[in-house]
């Protein structure tokens, strides 16, 4: 079980009253095992939304709930892939992935098995004993993803997890994430700048406005994906060529574009 709900959530940074309003009346319900992507211009409050679900930030008004319970503190039921990796520099790749498993008090043999499969999934087998500073940005990002995945959390919170990857790796990871999401669906809140990525991965896409951040529109992708049979195409580029895909992408682009133009008026 892993539903998420935002109801009438505001977030004000700085002193009450004179602070900066980052989020304004956010309402969003994410069902158990649903994959929701948030897109929006830089600084609109996407990360802030995710941090509230993670338990790192409290809402200034309204409520953020996971499984019907108000979020009060972070915990391993909501694994986070941070925008800037947040790997422990003094731990090897393996030790970084292991920490969460050790905290669960799993026996060594089980941990080893889980770590091996996570490393394999992220093509990191040959770097298990490297330190983060010895890896490229993309590899570090994959370690951060492995560290979250391996916990098998009810809710996965991903903040631009593919942002640091090169185009090829990015595609591989996106396809892999889709396979995983279909095979073993879980609740995912996924933040991205990339419109195509959002449409390709998500069941629904929420589009946010510039500051103060509001949810402007929520698009149902899943029904279209199922109706048009996107999952029959194993390759992302084939899906991206489909007319239904192009239509959604263009719609989101235009919606975001209005935001930009509005800024300039």
């Amino acid at each position: 079980m892993g539903s998420i709900s935002f109801s009438h959530v505001d977030k004000i940074f700085g002193p009450q009253g004179s602070g900066v309003k980052a989020l304004d009346n956010i309402n969003l319900d994410i069902a158990d095992r649903e994959f929701v992507a948030i897109v929006g211009p830089s600084g609109c409050g996407k990360t802030t939304c995710l941090r509230m679900v993670a338990g790192f930030e409290a809402a200034s008004a309204g409520e953020v709930k996971v499984n019907g319970k108000t979020v009060t503190a972070p915990g391993p039921d909501r694994a986070v892939v941070f925008q800037q990796f947040a790997l422990f520099p003094w731990k090897t790749v393996r030790e970084n992935i292991d920490l969460g498993l050790r905290n669960k008090n799993l026996p060594l043999a089980e941990r080893d098995g889980l770590i091996s499969s996570a490393l394999k999934l992220m093509s990191l087998e040959s770097h298990a004993d490297a330190f983060p500073h010895q890896l490229s940005g993309g590899m570090q990002q994959r370690v951060a993803i492995a560290r979250a995945y391996v916990l098998d959390p009810e809710v996965l919170l991903m903040d631009e997890p593919f942002g640091a990857l090169d185009a090829q790796t990015r595609v591989v990871m996106q396809e892999e994430l889709v396979r995983l999401a279909r095979r073993n669906p879980r609740t995912v809140l996924f933040i991205t700048h990339a419109v195509e990525e959002a449409v390709y991965l998500a069941d629904r896409v929420a589009i946010m406005t510039r500051r103060p951040g509001r949810i402007k529109e929520v698009l149902d992708i899943r029904s279209i994906r199922e109706a048009e049979g996107w999952d029959r195409h194993p390759k992302i580029e084939d899906v991206m060529d489909l007319e239904s895909f192009v239509h959604l992408r263009t719609h989101i682009w235009k919606t975001l574009r209005e935001e930009k133009d509005f800024q300039h008026v």
Binding site: A54, G55, F56, A73, P74, G75, P76, R78, A79, V80, F82, Q84, A86, L87, F88, P89, W90, K91, L99, G100, R102, N103, K104, F131, H133, Q134, R147, L151
Partner: protein, 262 residues
């Protein structure tokens, strides 16, 4: 100052030059009689006294024996300071309550010079090994605590968030996140501690009756042997520099291992 680092060779040359200049000035002042002999011995007198003391005893022991006695007290004092200061600093960096309790007391105490503890150190711990250790401890403890505390307090918030998200408990948070993150700061603190501890040594040895460089100097002062006092000062300076160089090497090695800049 333009802040540009000179090439190693040139900066070494300059260092040597200033040392020679210093010795030259000292020689001129003393040999010419501008400064009377009983106030300041000549460099040559000090040097010959230094080498003499390496083998022949003064105040009951040779210079190396005095140094060994001092170093033992010093090592105990500094190790004790690190053993108490570092864990306490880390705990204060994590538990706000402890921070709020300890900080006011600590802030008051740390401005008291180690030598001010001499009477109480003698009273509480005697003049054998306990008293001097307490004085060295008083000098070495604050930097250990402060640096461990700062290191723990200013860990990248993201790393603490990551650890919390992974379900890390307090013990593991301190041992596996705060401690390693604070290591550079702790090492820097240990360097300062080592220096201050060594500086407190002579103060500590004012009250010790049997041996040590400070003891040797106090005895020499009693019989107005300025060259012997100066020898003690130079020995303290040299050992202090060696300690610092070694710790700096250790720090550099650690930073390189971490992939930080050398």
């Amino acid at each position: 100052m333009n802040g540009q680092a000179l090439p190693l060779k040139e900066s070494m040359l300059l260092g040597l030059l200033s040392l020679l200049l210093f010795l030259g000035l000292w020689t001129v002042l003393t040999v010419s009689g501008i400064v009377p002999r009983q106030f300041l011995p000549t460099p040559l007198e000090v040097a010959s006294r230094f080498f003499q003391l390496l083998t022949s005893p003064f105040a009951g022991a040779t210079l190396p024996t005095h140094l060994a006695a001092s170093f033992k007290r010093y090592a105990y004092g500094v190790l004790l300071a690190a053993a108490v200061g570092v864990p306490l600093g880390l705990l204060m960096g994590w538990f706000r309550l402890l921070d709020d309790i300890v900080t006011p007391i600590f802030d008051g105490l740390r401005f008291i010079a180690p030598i001010a503890w001499v009477p109480f150190a003698a009273l509480w711990f005697g003049t054998g090994i306990g008293g001097p250790i307490m004085i060295i401890f008083a000098g070495a403890f604050p930097p250990c605590l402060i640096n461990a505390y700062r290191g723990a307090r200013f860990v990248e918030p993201r790393l603490i968030e990551a650890a919390k998200m992974l379900g890390t408990n307090d013990t593991r948070m301190i041992m596996e996140v705060l401690l390693p993150a604070a290591v550079p700061s702790i090492i820097a603190g240990l360097r300062v501690s080592a220096g201050l501890g060594w500086q407190s040594l002579v103060g500590a040895e004012l009250i010790v009756a049997a041996a040590g460089v400070g003891f040797m100097m106090v005895q020499a002062q009693g019989s107005v042997q300025t060259a012997t006092v100066m020898t003690g000062m130079i020995a303290i300076g040299i050992v202090g520099m060696i300690i610092d160089v070694l710790l700096r090497q250790g720090e550099g090695w650690l930073r390189r291992r971490r992939g930080l800049e050398a």
